[in-house]
Amino acid sequence: MRFHVVKRDNWPLWKRAVAYLIAVVAALLIGAVILLAIGVNPIDYYYQLFTMGTVGNRFAYKTFMNYIKEFLPLALTSVALSLAFKMKFWNIGGEGQFIMGSISATYIALTLGQTLPMWLTLIVMCVVAMLVAGLYGLLAGFLKVKFGTNETLMTLMLNYIALYLLYFIGETKASWNIFLQESSMRPVFVNFSKFVSFPSIKMGGKFELNICVILTAIIGVLIYIYLKRTKHGYEISVIGDSVGTAKYAGMKTNKIVLRTAFISAALIGLAASFKVGSAGVLSTAITDDVGWTGVIVAWLAQLNTGMIFVVSALICVLQFGSTVAATTYAQVDSSFANMLQGIILFLVLAADFFIRFRIVRVKKGE
């Protein structure tokens, strides 16, 4: 008996959804087996994970607020990345762009925060962070357009430059370094939350909805429209599909590549200023890996803007929930989420394969 792979016709949406669902469930089952093997009750663990420990928790509202804090930068970064990915510009420099955005937003908060009115400081923070991050992304775009460098490698390397710049700022006490607290002998970042912070809206109870949630939702809708309806979005799609065709149609492909690389990175800068503006302090771990996770999210959501929000929300439940669930189980550390994420990704890839192909048993002819 032999098998071979055969291409499949297009499946309807619901069938594809079911395939992906099966992949996720299968991943959770594999996770359950691993949990069992290390002596953890998987049902209880998953219960804790998916409720994020909120049931019977008098600080559940805090959990949700913390959850949203993790969700927002990830969703916005993933949306930003999807913009570039749609054009087949492989911007994996989300980390670096986020860091550059964070540093510049913090710089604005520290220098202008006490003189300008808060709302103005926040706007300047956003604008400057977008500019700096955007230019950082543009650099990779420029090198690609000008010298034909590989943007994947470039953005990757630029990540490390940004990261070590952040470490340098975070570890070097010096008179120029306004990022660090003067009073502390050991390097500690200055906290500016007292005078610069994105406002929150009280939602009844103790739950507060940060204004960034609303802004991110609006940006999501705008990007959706940008990609689907505008001429810019159309150009991005054509270039992503075939650069030759785009040139043939008279598009200035270089200009479009640069523009999109800039917008993509600038949005990541905006995500960074939202993050810094809500946290009120810089840190060496400010990105929380959104630049990396965002790539996975964008891919899992197949660059669909709406799906990106859904997938980010789910990935955050996974990450946040597994931290909560891990508190009670000595055997499982918070990295379990990463492993589970890996298994899910792997199986969703497999599901993707089965959506596009099917395996046929070779029948003996008569």
């Binding site: 008098r58 959990t63 939702a217 959706y224 946040f320």
Partner: protein
């Protein structure tokens, strides 16, 4: 998509309202001491088998067992929390949601987040390792006089250098004067070496990182080959510097744990921490203080700072590789410190002969630029290790 977000947000709000209303009953702070719930925030994985997080985790679980607390049901850990205030706050919120009574944060960078958390949750005790902030009620910090143990290991190294006739001593350190923690360790060690061998030089090679096994080994090798060092001390996680010393036929002083199994022919002794000593003290205080705002009062100080006396720091048993009379000299100095007769960073210098005889004499404590830190006969400046003002090397130390 708008609809989607709307649904998402309303679901969130609904859930939060429900859970807010649900349970405001379960008050924290154990009335029954044995109900103490311990929370901990780690920088690395709680499943580590070596290193900083491991040492603390070991200390906490050991203390809990000593006190008859159940590690499986009474200990809640959020691990792999980077020094990011937002993430530390999220970890605190998670632990508070688990109704813990006391939260230990083990990494320095948690400092500001724990300070604000302590103000926000007055019913929970916050205890911060290696920090310097505290309040008068529910927030303290703790650290140890590791420099005392360093000084003792320095004596072992000094005697060995006399025996081998090689005055160059190497020191692979995570950082140098950037952190008082590393600077005090280097200085304590150097003063111990010089008490025996006044001609000895300590060459410090900085990693710029708390854990970097590759460079830990490479730097030790470089200290031996380029600076002629015969003894390698270290302030970093792995035993790589000791192994490098052994491979070069040299000697070494370890850190954090007895590294003799890693380098049986090289290892002299290691400065070690007994974190469980503090954790036990803190947990007992938490059980006995009645309410969280009495914690600092019960501890007696907002900055716990144990040393050889409390057995919080110590050295591992000296190995066969040590020079004769090492044990004798160390015992004599240990007695001076434990009895409070003398401390390392003071205006009194110890001199130790090859026979292990210890004598005291007043002398200026100088930094390596020749400035007087403590005038002859002055009192110890050990506070510099807590508040982080020690940002210099003592005379005889230089960066390689």
């Amino acid at each position: 998509m708008k609809k989607l977000i709307a649904i998402f947000l309303s679901a969130l709000m609904l859930l939060s309202l429900v859970s807010c209303g649900a349970s405001d009953s379960n008050e924290a702070t154990g009335d029954n001491a044995k109900d103490l719930k311990v929370g901990a925030i780690y920088i690395n994985s709680k499943n580590d088998t070596a290193g900083y997080t491991y040492a603390h985790h070991n200390g906490i679980t050991t203390a809990m067992k000593e006190l008859g607390l159940d590690v499986n049901t009474q200990l809640f850990i959020v691990d792999e929390v980077p020094e990011d205030p937002e993430q530390v706050r999220a970890a605190v919120d998670t632990l508070v949601g688990k109704n813990v009574d006391i939260i230990f944060g083990i990494s320095f960078g948690y400092i500001d987040a724990l300070e604000t958390a302590a103000a926000e949750y007055p019913e929970v005790i916050f205890s911060h390792a290696t920090g310097y902030k505290s309040n008068e009620t529910n927030f303290n910090n703790y650290f140890g006089r590791a420099y005392q143990a360093r000084y003792l290991s320095g004596i072992a190294a000094g005697l060995k250098s006399l025996q081998t006739g090689n005055n160059n001593v190497g020191y692979v350190a995570a950082y140098g004067t950037e952190y008082a923690e590393t600077a005090s360790g280097i200085n304590g060690f150097a003063l111990g070496v010089q008490a025996v061998n006044p001609n000895a030089k300590v060459y410090v090679k900085k990693l710029g990182n708390w854990a970097d096994e590759v460079n830990e080994s490479a730097f030790a090798t470089e200290l031996i080959s380029s600076f002629g060092c015969g003894i390698i001390a270290q302030h970093c996680d792995s035993a790589q510097p000791q192994i490098a010393a052994e491979n070069a036929g040299m000697f070494g002083c370890g850190y954090n744990s007895d590294m003799s199994p890693d380098a049986p022919k090289a290892h002299l002794t290691a400065a070690i921490w007994n974190w469980n000593v503090y954790y036990r003290t803190a947990m007992e205080a938490a059980m006995n203080c009645g309410s969280a705002d009495n914690f600092v009062a019960t501890m007696g100080t907002p900055a716990y700072y144990g040393g050889l006396k409390e057995n919080f720091v110590d050295i591992s048993p000296i190995s066969e590789n040590c020079a004769p009379n090492t044990q004798k000299a160390i015992d004599a100095v240990r007695e001076l410190i434990v009895n409070g007769e003398w401390d390392v960073f003071s205006g009194v210098k110890l001199s130790i002969t090859a026979d292990g005889v210890v004598t005291k004499a007043d002398a200026d404590l100088l930094d390596n630029a020749g400035n007087v830190i403590v005038a002859a006969g002055g009192a110890s400046v050990e506070d510099g290790v807590i508040t982080g003002t020690m940002n210099y090397y003592v005379a005889g130390v230089q960066e390689a």
